[in-house]
Symmetry: C2
Subunit: 288 residues, 2 copies
Protein backbone atom coordinates (compact mmCIF):
# COMPACT_ATOMS: atom_id res chain seq x y z
CA UNK A 1 0.00 0.00 0.00
CA UNK A 2 2.75 2.45 0.98
CA UNK A 3 4.66 1.47 -2.14
CA UNK A 4 1.61 2.11 -4.35
CA UNK A 5 1.08 5.52 -2.72
CA UNK A 6 4.68 6.39 -3.64
CA UNK A 7 4.13 5.35 -7.22
CA UNK A 8 0.97 7.51 -7.38
CA UNK A 9 2.77 10.49 -5.78
CA UNK A 10 5.54 10.23 -8.36
CA UNK A 11 3.05 9.99 -11.21
CA UNK A 12 1.12 13.05 -9.95
CA UNK A 13 4.38 14.98 -9.69
CA UNK A 14 5.41 13.95 -13.20
CA UNK A 15 2.02 14.59 -14.82
CA UNK A 16 1.78 18.16 -13.51
CA UNK A 17 4.81 20.24 -14.50
CA UNK A 18 5.22 23.89 -13.53
CA UNK A 19 4.86 26.05 -16.66
CA UNK A 20 4.10 29.70 -17.41
CA UNK A 21 2.15 31.26 -15.73
CA UNK A 22 3.82 29.57 -12.76
CA UNK A 23 1.42 30.80 -10.07
CA UNK A 24 -1.49 28.74 -11.36
CA UNK A 25 0.54 25.53 -11.72
CA UNK A 26 2.08 26.08 -8.27
CA UNK A 27 -1.38 26.56 -6.75
CA UNK A 28 -2.67 23.40 -8.48
CA UNK A 29 0.33 21.41 -7.37
CA UNK A 30 0.43 22.72 -3.78
CA UNK A 31 -2.74 20.99 -2.57
CA UNK A 32 -2.30 18.07 -4.96
CA UNK A 33 1.11 17.16 -3.56
CA UNK A 34 0.25 17.50 0.15
CA UNK A 35 0.81 14.03 1.64
CA UNK A 36 -2.46 12.10 1.51
CA UNK A 37 -3.72 8.54 1.65
CA UNK A 38 -4.50 8.60 -2.11
CA UNK A 39 -7.42 6.29 -1.33
CA UNK A 40 -9.30 6.97 -4.57
CA UNK A 41 -6.44 6.34 -7.03
CA UNK A 42 -5.35 3.33 -4.94
CA UNK A 43 -8.83 1.83 -5.20
CA UNK A 44 -9.04 2.63 -8.92
CA UNK A 45 -5.72 0.90 -9.59
CA UNK A 46 -6.51 -2.05 -7.31
CA UNK A 47 -9.87 -2.61 -9.03
CA UNK A 48 -8.16 -2.58 -12.42
CA UNK A 49 -5.42 -4.95 -11.16
CA UNK A 50 -7.90 -7.42 -9.64
CA UNK A 51 -9.73 -7.49 -12.98
CA UNK A 52 -6.54 -8.10 -14.95
CA UNK A 53 -5.48 -4.65 -16.15
CA UNK A 54 -1.91 -3.29 -16.04
CA UNK A 55 -1.27 -0.49 -13.58
CA UNK A 56 0.33 1.71 -16.31
CA UNK A 57 -2.83 1.54 -18.38
CA UNK A 58 -5.00 3.01 -15.63
CA UNK A 59 -2.47 5.32 -13.93
CA UNK A 60 -3.42 8.55 -15.79
CA UNK A 61 -7.12 8.02 -15.02
CA UNK A 62 -6.34 7.14 -11.37
CA UNK A 63 -4.32 10.35 -11.01
CA UNK A 64 -7.11 12.31 -12.71
CA UNK A 65 -9.51 11.18 -9.97
CA UNK A 66 -7.12 12.46 -7.29
CA UNK A 67 -7.00 15.79 -9.17
CA UNK A 68 -10.80 15.96 -9.19
CA UNK A 69 -10.85 15.14 -5.47
CA UNK A 70 -8.28 17.87 -4.73
CA UNK A 71 -10.26 20.34 -6.88
CA UNK A 72 -13.32 19.73 -4.73
CA UNK A 73 -11.26 20.24 -1.55
CA UNK A 74 -9.79 23.54 -2.79
CA UNK A 75 -13.22 24.94 -3.69
CA UNK A 76 -14.89 23.53 -0.54
CA UNK A 77 -12.31 25.29 1.65
CA UNK A 78 -13.02 28.73 0.12
CA UNK A 79 -14.29 31.46 2.47
CA UNK A 80 -17.65 31.50 0.65
CA UNK A 81 -18.07 27.75 1.22
CA UNK A 82 -16.76 25.88 4.30
CA UNK A 83 -14.20 28.64 5.03
CA UNK A 84 -11.53 26.23 6.21
CA UNK A 85 -8.00 27.53 6.83
CA UNK A 86 -6.32 24.13 6.97
CA UNK A 87 -6.16 21.07 4.76
CA UNK A 88 -4.03 17.98 5.31
CA UNK A 89 -2.32 19.81 8.19
CA UNK A 90 -1.23 22.80 6.05
CA UNK A 91 -2.78 26.19 5.24
CA UNK A 92 -5.52 25.69 2.66
CA UNK A 93 -5.01 26.78 -0.93
CA UNK A 94 -6.61 30.25 -0.73
CA UNK A 95 -4.61 31.05 2.42
CA UNK A 96 -1.39 30.55 0.44
CA UNK A 97 -2.30 31.70 -3.08
CA UNK A 98 -5.30 33.99 -2.49
CA UNK A 99 -8.94 33.37 -3.33
CA UNK A 100 -8.76 34.19 -7.05
CA UNK A 101 -5.93 31.72 -7.66
CA UNK A 102 -7.66 29.08 -5.53
CA UNK A 103 -10.84 29.34 -7.61
CA UNK A 104 -8.79 29.17 -10.82
CA UNK A 105 -6.57 26.32 -9.55
CA UNK A 106 -9.72 24.31 -8.90
CA UNK A 107 -11.06 25.11 -12.37
CA UNK A 108 -7.72 24.16 -13.90
CA UNK A 109 -7.60 20.80 -12.09
CA UNK A 110 -11.17 20.11 -13.17
CA UNK A 111 -10.17 20.43 -16.84
CA UNK A 112 -6.63 19.06 -16.56
CA UNK A 113 -7.89 15.77 -15.12
CA UNK A 114 -9.75 14.73 -18.32
CA UNK A 115 -6.96 16.24 -20.45
CA UNK A 116 -4.51 13.92 -18.68
CA UNK A 117 -6.74 10.92 -19.34
CA UNK A 118 -6.90 11.77 -23.05
CA UNK A 119 -3.18 12.52 -23.48
CA UNK A 120 -1.60 9.77 -21.40
CA UNK A 121 -3.96 6.79 -21.63
CA UNK A 122 -2.28 5.57 -24.80
CA UNK A 123 -3.24 1.93 -24.18
CA UNK A 124 -6.97 2.59 -23.91
CA UNK A 125 -9.26 2.64 -26.95
CA UNK A 126 -11.23 5.75 -27.94
CA UNK A 127 -14.39 3.93 -26.82
CA UNK A 128 -12.91 3.30 -23.37
CA UNK A 129 -11.75 6.91 -23.07
CA UNK A 130 -15.21 8.23 -24.00
CA UNK A 131 -16.80 5.87 -21.43
CA UNK A 132 -14.34 7.00 -18.74
CA UNK A 133 -14.83 10.69 -19.53
CA UNK A 134 -18.59 10.20 -19.48
CA UNK A 135 -18.42 8.80 -15.93
CA UNK A 136 -15.97 11.56 -14.99
CA UNK A 137 -18.23 14.37 -16.20
CA UNK A 138 -21.39 12.84 -14.68
CA UNK A 139 -19.88 12.24 -11.26
CA UNK A 140 -17.89 15.51 -11.11
CA UNK A 141 -20.77 17.87 -11.89
CA UNK A 142 -24.31 18.89 -11.03
CA UNK A 143 -25.45 15.26 -11.23
CA UNK A 144 -22.86 14.17 -8.65
CA UNK A 145 -20.24 15.89 -6.54
CA UNK A 146 -21.60 19.42 -6.98
CA UNK A 147 -25.18 18.36 -6.22
CA UNK A 148 -23.87 16.89 -2.94
CA UNK A 149 -22.00 20.06 -2.07
CA UNK A 150 -24.99 22.30 -2.85
CA UNK A 151 -27.40 20.28 -0.71
CA UNK A 152 -24.77 20.14 2.06
CA UNK A 153 -24.48 23.94 2.09
CA UNK A 154 -28.27 24.35 1.94
CA UNK A 155 -28.82 21.93 4.81
CA UNK A 156 -26.35 23.92 6.92
CA UNK A 157 -28.51 26.96 6.32
CA UNK A 158 -31.52 24.94 7.50
CA UNK A 159 -33.01 24.75 4.00
CA UNK A 160 -34.30 21.20 3.50
CA UNK A 161 -36.38 20.33 0.43
CA UNK A 162 -36.54 16.65 1.40
CA UNK A 163 -36.64 15.06 4.88
CA UNK A 164 -33.50 15.22 7.03
CA UNK A 165 -32.81 11.52 6.47
CA UNK A 166 -33.26 11.70 2.69
CA UNK A 167 -31.17 14.86 2.56
CA UNK A 168 -28.35 13.26 4.54
CA UNK A 169 -28.38 10.19 2.27
CA UNK A 170 -28.30 12.43 -0.80
CA UNK A 171 -25.33 14.38 0.54
CA UNK A 172 -23.40 11.23 1.51
CA UNK A 173 -24.08 9.52 -1.79
CA UNK A 174 -23.20 12.54 -3.90
CA UNK A 175 -20.53 14.33 -1.93
CA UNK A 176 -18.51 11.32 -0.82
CA UNK A 177 -19.56 8.01 -2.37
CA UNK A 178 -19.47 9.52 -5.86
CA UNK A 179 -15.66 9.77 -6.03
CA UNK A 180 -15.18 6.19 -4.84
CA UNK A 181 -17.76 5.05 -7.36
CA UNK A 182 -15.97 6.97 -10.09
CA UNK A 183 -12.55 5.58 -9.08
CA UNK A 184 -13.72 1.99 -9.01
CA UNK A 185 -15.85 2.26 -12.15
CA UNK A 186 -12.96 3.71 -14.11
CA UNK A 187 -10.72 0.88 -12.90
CA UNK A 188 -13.32 -1.63 -14.11
CA UNK A 189 -13.78 0.12 -17.48
CA UNK A 190 -10.01 0.22 -18.04
CA UNK A 191 -9.97 -3.54 -17.37
CA UNK A 192 -12.80 -4.02 -19.88
CA UNK A 193 -14.97 -5.67 -17.24
CA UNK A 194 -18.44 -6.95 -18.15
CA UNK A 195 -21.63 -5.16 -17.09
CA UNK A 196 -22.33 -7.49 -14.16
CA UNK A 197 -18.84 -7.02 -12.70
CA UNK A 198 -19.00 -3.25 -13.10
CA UNK A 199 -22.33 -3.26 -11.22
CA UNK A 200 -20.93 -5.45 -8.44
CA UNK A 201 -17.95 -3.11 -7.96
CA UNK A 202 -20.22 -0.07 -8.14
CA UNK A 203 -22.31 -1.56 -5.35
CA UNK A 204 -19.14 -2.08 -3.30
CA UNK A 205 -18.02 1.50 -3.99
CA UNK A 206 -21.38 2.97 -2.94
CA UNK A 207 -21.35 1.07 0.37
CA UNK A 208 -17.72 1.96 0.95
CA UNK A 209 -18.40 5.63 0.21
CA UNK A 210 -21.25 5.75 2.72
CA UNK A 211 -19.12 3.98 5.34
CA UNK A 212 -16.29 6.42 4.68
CA UNK A 213 -18.56 9.45 5.19
CA UNK A 214 -19.92 8.03 8.45
CA UNK A 215 -16.28 7.42 9.47
CA UNK A 216 -15.54 11.07 8.68
CA UNK A 217 -18.56 12.28 10.68
CA UNK A 218 -17.51 10.17 13.67
CA UNK A 219 -13.88 11.31 13.46
CA UNK A 220 -14.95 14.97 13.39
CA UNK A 221 -16.69 14.24 16.70
CA UNK A 222 -14.01 12.20 18.48
CA UNK A 223 -10.68 13.15 16.88
CA UNK A 224 -8.09 15.95 17.16
CA UNK A 225 -6.62 18.47 14.71
CA UNK A 226 -3.23 16.76 14.98
CA UNK A 227 -4.74 13.46 13.94
CA UNK A 228 -6.84 14.72 11.02
CA UNK A 229 -4.81 17.70 9.79
CA UNK A 230 -7.94 19.80 9.49
CA UNK A 231 -10.25 21.74 11.78
CA UNK A 232 -12.34 19.37 13.94
CA UNK A 233 -15.61 19.78 15.82
CA UNK A 234 -16.82 22.12 13.07
CA UNK A 235 -19.85 19.95 12.31
CA UNK A 236 -21.10 20.20 15.88
CA UNK A 237 -20.29 23.91 16.17
CA UNK A 238 -22.20 24.68 12.97
CA UNK A 239 -25.09 22.35 13.89
CA UNK A 240 -24.40 20.45 10.69
CA UNK A 241 -26.52 17.58 9.47
CA UNK A 242 -24.33 14.49 9.92
CA UNK A 243 -24.89 10.80 10.61
CA UNK A 244 -23.79 11.46 14.21
CA UNK A 245 -26.05 14.47 14.74
CA UNK A 246 -29.05 12.69 13.22
CA UNK A 247 -28.70 9.18 14.67
CA UNK A 248 -26.25 9.54 17.59
CA UNK A 249 -22.75 8.10 17.87
CA UNK A 250 -23.78 4.53 18.69
CA UNK A 251 -26.16 4.05 15.76
CA UNK A 252 -23.62 5.73 13.48
CA UNK A 253 -20.96 3.22 14.54
CA UNK A 254 -23.37 0.32 14.03
CA UNK A 255 -24.30 1.50 10.55
CA UNK A 256 -20.63 1.97 9.72
CA UNK A 257 -19.79 -1.58 10.85
CA UNK A 258 -22.67 -3.07 8.84
CA UNK A 259 -21.53 -1.30 5.67
CA UNK A 260 -17.91 -2.38 6.16
CA UNK A 261 -19.12 -5.98 6.63
CA UNK A 262 -21.15 -5.78 3.41
CA UNK A 263 -18.08 -4.44 1.61
CA UNK A 264 -16.00 -7.36 2.93
CA UNK A 265 -18.65 -9.81 1.72
CA UNK A 266 -18.54 -8.40 -1.82
CA UNK A 267 -14.77 -8.07 -2.18
CA UNK A 268 -13.88 -11.30 -0.34
CA UNK A 269 -13.73 -13.52 -3.42
CA UNK A 270 -11.15 -11.29 -5.10
CA UNK A 271 -8.56 -11.88 -2.37
CA UNK A 272 -7.28 -8.28 -2.43
CA UNK A 273 -4.79 -7.42 0.30
CA UNK A 274 -5.17 -3.72 -0.41
CA UNK A 275 -8.98 -3.62 -0.15
CA UNK A 276 -8.85 -5.79 2.99
CA UNK A 277 -6.24 -3.45 4.51
CA UNK A 278 -8.30 -0.34 3.79
CA UNK A 279 -11.48 -1.86 5.24
CA UNK A 280 -9.83 -3.27 8.37
CA UNK A 281 -7.89 -0.07 9.11
CA UNK A 282 -11.02 2.07 8.98
CA UNK A 283 -12.88 -0.43 11.16
CA UNK A 284 -10.04 -0.64 13.69
CA UNK A 285 -9.94 3.14 14.08
CA UNK A 286 -13.68 3.42 14.73
CA UNK A 287 -13.92 0.42 17.06
CA UNK A 288 -10.74 1.04 19.09
Amino acid sequence: MKELINVIDNALDKYLQIEYPEDIFKAMKYTLMLPGKRLRPVMCIETARILGCDIEKVMPAACAIEMLHVQSLIHDDLPCMDNDDFRRGKPSNHKVFGEANAVLAGDALLTYAPQLIIEKSTDLTSEQIVKILHEYTKFAGAYGLIAGQVVDIESEGGKLVKSAKETLDFIHLNKTAVLFRLAIKIGAIAADADKYTIEEFDNFATKFGLAFQIYDDIMDEISSFEELGKTVGKDKASDKLTYVSLYGLKTAKNKFNCLIQECCDIIDKYDSKIFNDILSRLAARINS
Copy 2:
Protein backbone atom coordinates in the same frame (compact mmCIF):
# COMPACT_ATOMS: atom_id res chain seq x y z
CA MET B 1 -28.00 35.11 -37.97
CA LYS B 2 -30.95 36.02 -35.72
CA GLU B 3 -32.63 32.76 -36.68
CA LEU B 4 -29.53 30.76 -35.80
CA ILE B 5 -29.28 32.52 -32.42
CA ASN B 6 -32.86 31.44 -31.72
CA VAL B 7 -32.06 27.84 -32.61
CA ILE B 8 -29.03 27.94 -30.27
CA ASP B 9 -31.07 29.52 -27.45
CA ASN B 10 -33.69 26.78 -27.77
CA ALA B 11 -31.03 24.07 -27.77
CA LEU B 12 -29.35 25.54 -24.65
CA ASP B 13 -32.71 25.67 -22.91
CA LYS B 14 -33.50 22.08 -23.87
CA TYR B 15 -30.07 20.68 -22.97
CA LEU B 16 -30.09 22.11 -19.45
CA GLN B 17 -33.19 21.02 -17.52
CA ILE B 18 -33.85 22.09 -13.92
CA GLU B 19 -33.44 19.09 -11.62
CA TYR B 20 -32.87 18.51 -7.90
CA PRO B 21 -31.08 20.33 -6.30
CA GLU B 22 -32.81 23.14 -8.20
CA ASP B 23 -30.63 26.00 -6.93
CA ILE B 24 -27.55 24.82 -8.79
CA PHE B 25 -29.38 24.23 -12.07
CA LYS B 26 -31.14 27.59 -11.73
CA ALA B 27 -27.80 29.31 -11.13
CA MET B 28 -26.24 27.55 -14.14
CA LYS B 29 -29.18 28.43 -16.34
CA TYR B 30 -29.54 32.05 -15.17
CA THR B 31 -26.35 33.37 -16.76
CA LEU B 32 -26.49 30.87 -19.62
CA MET B 33 -29.92 32.06 -20.77
CA LEU B 34 -29.28 35.81 -20.51
CA PRO B 35 -29.74 37.14 -24.06
CA GLY B 36 -26.38 37.14 -25.81
CA LYS B 37 -24.91 37.27 -29.28
CA ARG B 38 -23.92 33.57 -29.05
CA LEU B 39 -20.93 34.43 -31.23
CA ARG B 40 -18.91 31.31 -30.32
CA PRO B 41 -21.59 28.69 -31.03
CA VAL B 42 -22.63 30.61 -34.16
CA MET B 43 -19.05 30.51 -35.46
CA CYS B 44 -18.69 26.84 -34.52
CA ILE B 45 -21.85 25.91 -36.41
CA GLU B 46 -21.03 28.14 -39.40
CA THR B 47 -17.54 26.60 -39.69
CA ALA B 48 -19.06 23.13 -39.63
CA ARG B 49 -21.72 24.13 -42.20
CA ILE B 50 -19.20 25.70 -44.59
CA LEU B 51 -17.19 22.49 -44.43
CA GLY B 52 -20.22 20.30 -45.16
CA CYS B 53 -21.41 19.18 -41.72
CA ASP B 54 -25.06 19.12 -40.57
CA ILE B 55 -26.02 21.62 -37.90
CA GLU B 56 -27.57 18.87 -35.70
CA LYS B 57 -24.27 17.00 -35.60
CA VAL B 58 -22.36 19.91 -34.12
CA MET B 59 -25.11 21.54 -32.03
CA PRO B 60 -24.24 19.84 -28.68
CA ALA B 61 -20.57 20.82 -29.02
CA ALA B 62 -21.50 24.36 -30.08
CA CYS B 63 -23.72 24.73 -27.01
CA ALA B 64 -20.94 23.25 -24.83
CA ILE B 65 -18.65 26.08 -25.92
CA GLU B 66 -21.25 28.65 -24.87
CA MET B 67 -21.46 26.88 -21.49
CA LEU B 68 -17.69 27.09 -21.10
CA HIS B 69 -17.79 30.77 -22.05
CA VAL B 70 -20.54 31.44 -19.49
CA GLN B 71 -18.60 29.50 -16.84
CA SER B 72 -15.62 31.79 -17.34
CA LEU B 73 -17.89 34.86 -17.08
CA ILE B 74 -19.47 33.64 -13.82
CA HIS B 75 -16.08 32.99 -12.18
CA ASP B 76 -14.50 36.18 -13.62
CA ASP B 77 -17.31 38.28 -12.09
CA LEU B 78 -16.71 36.90 -8.55
CA PRO B 79 -15.73 39.42 -5.84
CA CYS B 80 -12.28 37.78 -5.53
CA MET B 81 -11.68 38.27 -9.29
CA ASP B 82 -13.06 41.19 -11.33
CA ASN B 83 -15.81 41.86 -8.75
CA ASP B 84 -18.39 42.79 -11.35
CA ASP B 85 -22.01 43.26 -10.29
CA PHE B 86 -23.48 43.20 -13.78
CA ARG B 87 -23.34 40.88 -16.77
CA ARG B 88 -25.31 41.18 -19.98
CA GLY B 89 -27.26 44.02 -18.35
CA LYS B 90 -28.42 41.94 -15.36
CA PRO B 91 -27.03 41.34 -11.85
CA SER B 92 -24.14 38.91 -12.09
CA ASN B 93 -24.52 35.32 -10.91
CA HIS B 94 -23.14 35.73 -7.38
CA LYS B 95 -25.35 38.80 -6.80
CA VAL B 96 -28.42 36.62 -7.40
CA PHE B 97 -27.38 33.20 -6.08
CA GLY B 98 -24.56 34.01 -3.64
CA GLU B 99 -20.85 33.38 -4.04
CA ALA B 100 -20.88 29.69 -3.09
CA ASN B 101 -23.51 28.83 -5.69
CA ALA B 102 -21.76 30.98 -8.30
CA VAL B 103 -18.49 29.09 -7.79
CA LEU B 104 -20.35 25.77 -7.97
CA ALA B 105 -22.47 26.81 -10.97
CA GLY B 106 -19.23 27.57 -12.83
CA ASP B 107 -17.76 24.22 -11.84
CA ALA B 108 -20.95 22.48 -12.92
CA LEU B 109 -20.99 24.16 -16.35
CA LEU B 110 -17.32 23.27 -16.80
CA THR B 111 -18.15 19.56 -16.41
CA TYR B 112 -21.60 19.59 -17.97
CA ALA B 113 -20.23 20.99 -21.24
CA PRO B 114 -18.14 17.88 -22.05
CA GLN B 115 -20.90 15.63 -20.64
CA LEU B 116 -23.30 17.18 -23.14
CA ILE B 117 -20.86 16.57 -26.00
CA ILE B 118 -20.56 12.90 -25.01
CA GLU B 119 -24.26 12.28 -24.46
CA LYS B 120 -25.81 14.17 -27.37
CA SER B 121 -23.26 14.00 -30.21
CA THR B 122 -24.69 10.71 -31.40
CA ASP B 123 -23.58 11.26 -35.00
CA LEU B 124 -19.91 11.76 -34.15
CA THR B 125 -17.46 8.86 -33.85
CA SER B 126 -15.62 8.09 -30.58
CA GLU B 127 -12.43 9.33 -32.28
CA GLN B 128 -14.07 12.66 -33.13
CA ILE B 129 -15.46 13.01 -29.59
CA VAL B 130 -12.02 12.33 -28.04
CA LYS B 131 -10.45 14.90 -30.40
CA ILE B 132 -13.11 17.49 -29.51
CA LEU B 133 -12.79 16.84 -25.78
CA HIS B 134 -9.02 17.09 -26.06
CA GLU B 135 -9.31 20.56 -27.59
CA TYR B 136 -11.95 21.47 -25.00
CA THR B 137 -9.77 20.48 -22.01
CA LYS B 138 -6.62 22.11 -23.41
CA PHE B 139 -8.29 25.42 -24.24
CA ALA B 140 -10.47 25.56 -21.08
CA GLY B 141 -7.70 25.01 -18.54
CA ALA B 142 -4.27 26.12 -17.35
CA TYR B 143 -2.91 25.86 -20.91
CA GLY B 144 -5.56 28.24 -22.23
CA LEU B 145 -8.40 30.25 -20.75
CA ILE B 146 -7.23 30.02 -17.13
CA ALA B 147 -3.64 30.95 -18.00
CA GLY B 148 -5.03 34.09 -19.67
CA GLN B 149 -7.14 34.96 -16.65
CA VAL B 150 -4.23 34.43 -14.21
CA VAL B 151 -1.85 36.65 -16.18
CA ASP B 152 -4.63 39.23 -16.57
CA ILE B 153 -5.13 39.38 -12.78
CA GLU B 154 -1.37 39.48 -12.15
CA SER B 155 -0.84 42.27 -14.65
CA GLU B 156 -3.55 44.30 -12.89
CA GLY B 157 -1.53 43.93 -9.70
CA GLY B 158 1.51 45.25 -11.60
CA LYS B 159 3.21 41.83 -11.58
CA LEU B 160 4.74 41.29 -15.03
CA VAL B 161 7.05 38.34 -15.67
CA LYS B 162 7.34 39.17 -19.39
CA SER B 163 7.33 42.57 -21.10
CA ALA B 164 4.07 44.55 -21.18
CA LYS B 165 3.65 43.83 -24.88
CA GLU B 166 4.30 40.10 -24.54
CA THR B 167 2.04 39.96 -21.50
CA LEU B 168 -0.79 41.70 -23.33
CA ASP B 169 -0.45 39.34 -26.31
CA PHE B 170 -0.50 36.35 -23.96
CA ILE B 171 -3.66 37.58 -22.24
CA HIS B 172 -5.43 38.33 -25.52
CA LEU B 173 -4.47 35.02 -27.06
CA ASN B 174 -5.42 32.96 -24.02
CA LYS B 175 -8.29 34.84 -22.45
CA THR B 176 -10.19 35.74 -25.60
CA ALA B 177 -8.87 34.14 -28.78
CA VAL B 178 -8.86 30.70 -27.16
CA LEU B 179 -12.65 30.31 -27.11
CA PHE B 180 -12.99 31.37 -30.76
CA ARG B 181 -10.21 28.96 -31.67
CA LEU B 182 -11.97 26.20 -29.75
CA ALA B 183 -15.34 26.96 -31.36
CA ILE B 184 -13.98 26.97 -34.89
CA LYS B 185 -11.68 23.99 -34.40
CA ILE B 186 -14.55 21.91 -33.02
CA GLY B 187 -16.67 22.89 -36.02
CA ALA B 188 -13.89 21.75 -38.34
CA ILE B 189 -13.33 18.47 -36.45
CA ALA B 190 -17.07 17.72 -36.53
CA ALA B 191 -16.93 18.26 -40.31
CA ASP B 192 -13.95 15.89 -40.54
CA ALA B 193 -11.83 18.61 -42.17
CA ASP B 194 -8.25 17.85 -43.21
CA LYS B 195 -5.24 19.16 -41.27
CA TYR B 196 -4.58 22.04 -43.67
CA THR B 197 -8.15 23.30 -43.47
CA ILE B 198 -8.19 23.05 -39.67
CA GLU B 199 -4.99 25.12 -39.56
CA GLU B 200 -6.42 27.72 -41.91
CA PHE B 201 -9.54 28.11 -39.79
CA ASP B 202 -7.44 28.16 -36.62
CA ASN B 203 -5.43 31.01 -38.09
CA PHE B 204 -8.67 32.84 -38.86
CA ALA B 205 -9.95 32.23 -35.30
CA THR B 206 -6.74 33.53 -33.70
CA LYS B 207 -6.84 36.75 -35.72
CA PHE B 208 -10.55 37.15 -35.07
CA GLY B 209 -10.03 36.58 -31.33
CA LEU B 210 -7.35 39.26 -31.13
CA ALA B 211 -9.51 41.68 -33.11
CA PHE B 212 -12.43 40.93 -30.82
CA GLN B 213 -10.39 41.69 -27.70
CA ILE B 214 -9.12 44.97 -29.16
CA TYR B 215 -12.77 45.76 -30.01
CA ASP B 216 -13.66 45.03 -26.37
CA ASP B 217 -10.84 47.26 -25.07
CA ILE B 218 -11.93 50.11 -27.36
CA MET B 219 -15.60 49.71 -26.40
CA ASP B 220 -14.73 49.83 -22.69
CA GLU B 221 -13.17 53.21 -23.44
CA ILE B 222 -15.82 54.76 -25.70
CA SER B 223 -19.09 52.99 -24.88
CA SER B 224 -21.84 53.20 -22.23
CA PHE B 225 -23.32 50.76 -19.70
CA GLU B 226 -26.61 50.76 -21.61
CA GLU B 227 -24.87 49.71 -24.79
CA LEU B 228 -22.68 46.95 -23.31
CA GLY B 229 -24.80 45.71 -20.39
CA LYS B 230 -21.78 45.70 -18.10
CA THR B 231 -19.73 48.20 -16.12
CA VAL B 232 -17.61 50.37 -18.47
CA GLY B 233 -14.50 52.45 -17.95
CA LYS B 234 -13.23 49.87 -15.44
CA ASP B 235 -10.07 49.23 -17.43
CA LYS B 236 -9.04 52.86 -17.27
CA ALA B 237 -10.06 53.24 -13.61
CA SER B 238 -8.01 50.19 -12.61
CA ASP B 239 -5.06 51.18 -14.82
CA LYS B 240 -5.48 47.88 -16.61
CA LEU B 241 -3.12 46.69 -19.32
CA THR B 242 -5.16 46.89 -22.53
CA TYR B 243 -4.46 47.50 -26.18
CA VAL B 244 -5.79 51.03 -25.74
CA SER B 245 -3.71 51.80 -22.63
CA LEU B 246 -0.53 50.39 -24.19
CA TYR B 247 -0.78 51.70 -27.76
CA GLY B 248 -3.39 54.45 -27.64
CA LEU B 249 -6.81 54.52 -29.29
CA LYS B 250 -5.62 55.28 -32.82
CA THR B 251 -3.07 52.47 -33.04
CA ALA B 252 -5.57 50.10 -31.43
CA LYS B 253 -8.14 50.95 -34.14
CA ASN B 254 -5.53 50.47 -36.88
CA LYS B 255 -4.48 47.10 -35.51
CA PHE B 256 -8.14 46.09 -35.23
CA ASN B 257 -8.82 47.05 -38.84
CA CYS B 258 -5.76 45.15 -40.10
CA LEU B 259 -6.83 41.98 -38.28
CA ILE B 260 -10.40 42.22 -39.58
CA GLN B 261 -9.00 42.64 -43.12
CA GLU B 262 -6.81 39.54 -42.68
CA CYS B 263 -9.86 37.62 -41.45
CA CYS B 264 -11.84 38.72 -44.52
CA ASP B 265 -8.99 37.58 -46.77
CA ILE B 266 -8.99 34.09 -45.26
CA ILE B 267 -12.74 33.53 -45.12
CA ASP B 268 -13.53 35.19 -48.45
CA LYS B 269 -13.38 32.04 -50.58
CA TYR B 270 -16.01 30.30 -48.44
CA ASP B 271 -18.69 32.87 -49.27
CA SER B 272 -20.17 32.85 -45.76
CA LYS B 273 -22.86 35.44 -45.13
CA ILE B 274 -22.65 34.88 -41.37
CA PHE B 275 -18.87 35.37 -41.09
CA ASN B 276 -19.07 38.42 -43.38
CA ASP B 277 -21.88 39.86 -41.25
CA ILE B 278 -19.95 39.37 -37.99
CA LEU B 279 -16.79 40.94 -39.38
CA SER B 280 -18.52 43.92 -41.00
CA ARG B 281 -20.68 44.67 -37.95
CA LEU B 282 -17.68 44.80 -35.62
CA ALA B 283 -15.78 46.98 -38.10
CA ALA B 284 -18.75 49.33 -38.58
CA ARG B 285 -19.10 49.85 -34.81
CA ILE B 286 -15.41 50.73 -34.35
CA ASN B 287 -15.13 52.94 -37.43
CA SER B 288 -18.44 54.82 -37.03
